[in-house]
Symmetry: C2
Subunit: 251 residues, 2 copies
């Protein structure tokens, strides 16, 4: 890409938006500069622009994003037909098995939730469309990684902070590659408390009518209610049924 | 704001992101220029920047946003504690009454969903955090507008396309102001099929511990199951209970 093809200020502004998160819901100019590596004058101009356009509030010292910022992410959610096609089928799946059901796509080293039907919350974090989890230790992540080549998986794992969230988390890339190879053969992935103690989940790929992997769907259940070894027998029939219903709907 | 305080390229880039929607999930450079009023060279630079940063895919002719764009909206959802505080209470509320429950905030003339618990889908559109509805004809919208002064309400109504979605929709600003005045007195708003035939909803304000209006919560129900006149008797106790539980949690 040539320098003249790039809108530099736009790229910097997007960095500033991403600098806001749970740990930093409000940022001063200095903090925003610090978090993004941009100089203070640039951070200031980006923040003032956000504030002028209504994407941020400014109290004279701190900037905070406003709900208007949701329009940006929502542009994708409303532009892609995938969440709307998946949602009613997740609702039915979730109702049928009495557990939460979700759908996600891969973005780099993370799965991004695009739809979710919840019977009752089993995880400590609040999952919703747009939520992210590391792919290596999530059932949908394993299924989506299984759709890549081994080299691509190796790259994704090399770029992931492979953290042992629990005593059960696989963190050795060799073990993960072996697990992902199994997923390719079996057609599903089971996670036994690798993300959070007490949570099991089982995921399958969602393919479109041309056989291309477009998303993953899963069912999550409390480990106290059902053991990981029983997950396949209990939930795989409903998951594969949903999988087959979805395939002709996706082009 | 002085011209030197503005990051012009950033403002233009944000316009380009918002140009994508349900009707235009893929845009050529010419289409993006057309939808935003930007010149083609600028639209091109913004689109190429999005593509270079992984926020868009480019097939040589059309650009489409990628799920990475969800990071931008999600920055707000994870930065504000509101959705996470409200969600478990909406889940409980929804389970208790057997209907869907939602929370939203006002953004200009629209309500923006920030959390939702759904028992079963009653609306034709797929609501999720980030979804928007016009405020004037939505129960949460009426409650949030009731938190403004009459002048502010008049301005908001003047800026809204007051469309008769159904034969029941109030579209005369005078009628709407009278309705909003009633909401101020009664403390709740009921919508009887003004948004969509077959859908009723009832909303109440959520205030923080200092008494400031921070959001609205509602219960939606199929009009065939329960008439609008029964909504208050049936759902108001559960709504006001949730309201009181939330108040001390919100600072």
């Amino acid at each position: 890409m040539r320098e003249t093809d790039r809108m530099g200020g736009f790229a910097k502004g997007l960095k500033i938006i991403e600098a806001f998160d749970e740990e930093a819901p409000r940022l001063s100019i200095a903090e925003a500069a610090n978090r993004t590596g941009l100089d203070r004058a640039t951070a200031r101009r980006c923040l003032l622009t956000l504030s002028e356009l209504g994407y941020a509030d400014y109290d004279g010292k701190f900037f905070a994003l406003t709900p208007k910022i949701l329009r940006l992410g929502h542009a994708w959610l409303s532009a892609t037909p995938l969440p709307a096609i998946l949602q009613p089928h997740l609702d039915r799946l979730s109702e049928k098995v009495g557990q939460s059901a979700s759908a996600s796509v891969l973005d780099g080293t993370e799965v991004v939730y695009i739809a979710r039907a919840s019977q009752r919350r089993v995880m400590s974090i609040n999952l919703m469309p747009g939520s992210r989890l590391p792919a290596y230790c999530a059932s949908m992540g394993r299924v989506l990684l299984a759709g890549l080549t081994d080299d691509e998986v190796r790259d994704a794992l090399a770029a992931s902070p492979l953290k042992a969230n629990t005593a059960f988390t696989l963190t050795d890339p060799k073990d993960l590659l072996a697990e992902i190879a199994k997923v390719r053969t079996s057609g599903y992935a089971i996670i036994d408390q690798e993300l959070e103690v007490g949570l099991c989940s089982i995921a399958v790929p969602v393919k479109d009518s041309r056989g291309r992997l477009v998303a993953a769907i899963n069912i999550g259940a409390p480990a106290g209610q059902i053991s990981a070894t029983d997950m396949a027998a209990r939930f795989l029939p409903a998951l594969t049924e949903t999988q087959s219903i979805l395939r002709p709907l996706l082009r």
